[in-house]
Subunit: 355 residues, 2 copies
């Protein structure tokens, strides 16, 4: 009366960043936004017509796609939405990566690429970063089944230039090149690969509402690409799961996009706090490359990352530490509020003084 | 600069029931509930703390799983939740159906089973129903990689007995047997296979908030099974997508489950209207097996289903017609409000009088 083992899929579960449940803590470990979403989101939420819940949501998320199209100056049929960029990228893997040739992505990168490749049986090759954590475009000029990398990269927070991305696009005209821009809004004007869309039909740019739009709890991600690439994505999605984004996500998502002013002001505050954090880390002798996301990836030469991590944790300050050979010296620290960062640096100073 | 074809997944997109956008219409084509969700859902929604949206939702949906566990008299670790039962069942396919042996499901059944089997490369065998649309348990006593069927079945609205289900379970002790109970709440007391859970560790029961709980727009589904079976499902889900249900879905879902009284009263109203519809269809010379879901699957001997379908559509009444050899004589008609059904029968009478 118990299922036999050979029916089961073997998996290695992912360990998400801790979600500590007690109240007095500083949470700088999952790259969430320290500020609430636009007040328009709350207004929209309170105004929702609960009677509409009885109906299936719009499977094409028209309202949200139109808001995004307007904001990013594309047509609605160039926009695809999903339950977080996790769902969007997983669908990209299923849609675009079927040639049997290995896809390419950086060895240090978003950890789910490998997981999706495994689960959807897509062969892949992980390409080491250069010493300074930058991507060498030469590595992507080999036969492949597609390319994906985050820009800025995670967990390094390092930004690649548009000219580097264009070099990769030029070398790979007949496969999908996906730029995962979860953190691009923190990288400054003119950094998004969306600027290259009109020239490259095989470019797919993915973004998320979880970071810059303070809506991790609503689960919204999207892709923007040529009409053709988006139509393939829709075909696959509609073949097996018509209704993904729920009604509150669609309408609150649209409301958030329409409040450009709030969006800009929140980003500005986070960048200001990041500048402060950079200066503090530098003063304390930490090394890091210039951060372009809402987190910093730092190390203190001579002090193991795990020691600082554990000390901070004992003070109820949660940052992220990755226990792998290449990353173990580092800490990934989300940019919180100014007050949270001041508290962080007070504790780091105390820790270093004790040593 | 355009992706070459051999990179792309070939799919046949699913066609969901029409979602007509104009206001004056009667929509009896997607088995939605004609009544709004519990007033507690609206209260919860209005009371939501928008500041919480900035944080990732609880990946384990504790609040919702606890409410469901209490309601169904199981422990929270026997409950798994997802974005509609579509996501839950798709995950079941990925988790339980890996032996390489064909899984079994009825030929006339929920159309997505075949789609998921194809997309996850699970071999399958479709078993014809008996003449009267019932399932013959003998057909499921052959070597297989798992079993799944809806109860009540769709689009037939026909209920199978618990003793028939137990016969299938007894014959298949070492594979997953999934009973897809999307419509079970309309089938009366004592019909759910949940009653068999304590005896069969390989039984998985899936249900949804989209029908009986009037929350199709919120996308919530769940599975209940032994602790062991649920743990396998969690392992697979957490290996590639940690955060699926969003924050409003988790808290509003819990609120809906807790309002048992409203739930019962809505179900009672729908069953009462279904009884009325049965009587009317019978009076008009339609034939059908006893409906146990919130829809009827009817045919009028001598009158092609498509003719009635098109006539009703011209009157802005939407029902569902399937254009396949075995189903083309039939119409699937969702139970709406009493007033909607009265309008439906007025139009059917007018149509038949014209003929």
């Amino acid at each position: 009366m118990s299922i036999s083992r050979d029916n089961l899929r073997n998996v290695t579960p992912y360990t998400p960043g801790e979600q500590p449940q007690f109240a007095k803590k500083i949470k700088l470990n999952t790259n969430e936004n320290p500020y609430p979403p636009s007040p328009e989101v709350e207004k929209t939420l309170v105004g929702l017509d609960a009677d509409k819940f009885r109906l299936y949501p719009d499977p094409n998320t028209g309202l949200l796609r139109e808001a995004l199209a307007k904001r990013y100056n594309v047509t609605p049929d160039q926009v695809f939405t999903g339950v977080g960029s996790d769902e969007v990228i997983a669908l990209c893997f299923q849609t675009y990566f079927n040639s049997g040739k290995p896809i390419l992505f950086p060895e240090i990168s978003y950890s789910f690429y490998k997981v999706w490749a495994d689960i959807y049986k897509v062969p892949y090759k992980e390409i080491p970063l250069k010493e300074d954590f930058s991507i060498d475009p030469e590595d992507y000029k080999v036969p492949n089944g597609g390319v994906i990398f985050p820009n800025p990269n995670a967990p390094t927070s390092r930004l690649e230039s548009l000219s580097m991305i264009e070099e990769v696009l030029k070398a790979n005209p007949d496969v999908a090149v996906i730029i995962d821009e979860a953190y691009i809004d923190f990288a400054g004007e003119g950094t998004s690969a969306l600027a290259l869309l009109s020239k490259y039909d095989n470019l797919v740019v993915t973004q998320t509402f979880s970071k810059s739009r303070s809506m991790a709890g609503m689960r919204i991600g999207f892709a923007i690409a040529s009409r053709e690439m988006i139509s393939y994505l829709n075909d696959v999605k509609n073949s097996f799961n018509s209704y993904t984004l729920n009604y509150p996500a669609i309408v609150c998502g649209a409301a958030a996009v329409e409040d450009e002013e709030y969006f800009r002001s929140t980003i500005d505050r986070i960048i200001e706090t990041r500048d402060y954090a950079e200066k503090e880390f530098k003063d304390l002798g930490f090394t890091f490359s210039k951060p372009s996301a809402n987190f910093l990836f730092v190390k203190k030469p001579g002090v193991p990352g795990e020691e600082i991590f554990k000390y901070l944790r004992s003070k109820n300050i949660f940052v992220r530490h990755f226990n792998t050979e290449k990353l173990k010296d580092y800490l990934r620290v989300t940019v919180g509020t100014r007050e949270e960062m001041e508290e962080l640096f007070r504790e780091i100073r105390a820790f270093l003084a004790e040593k």
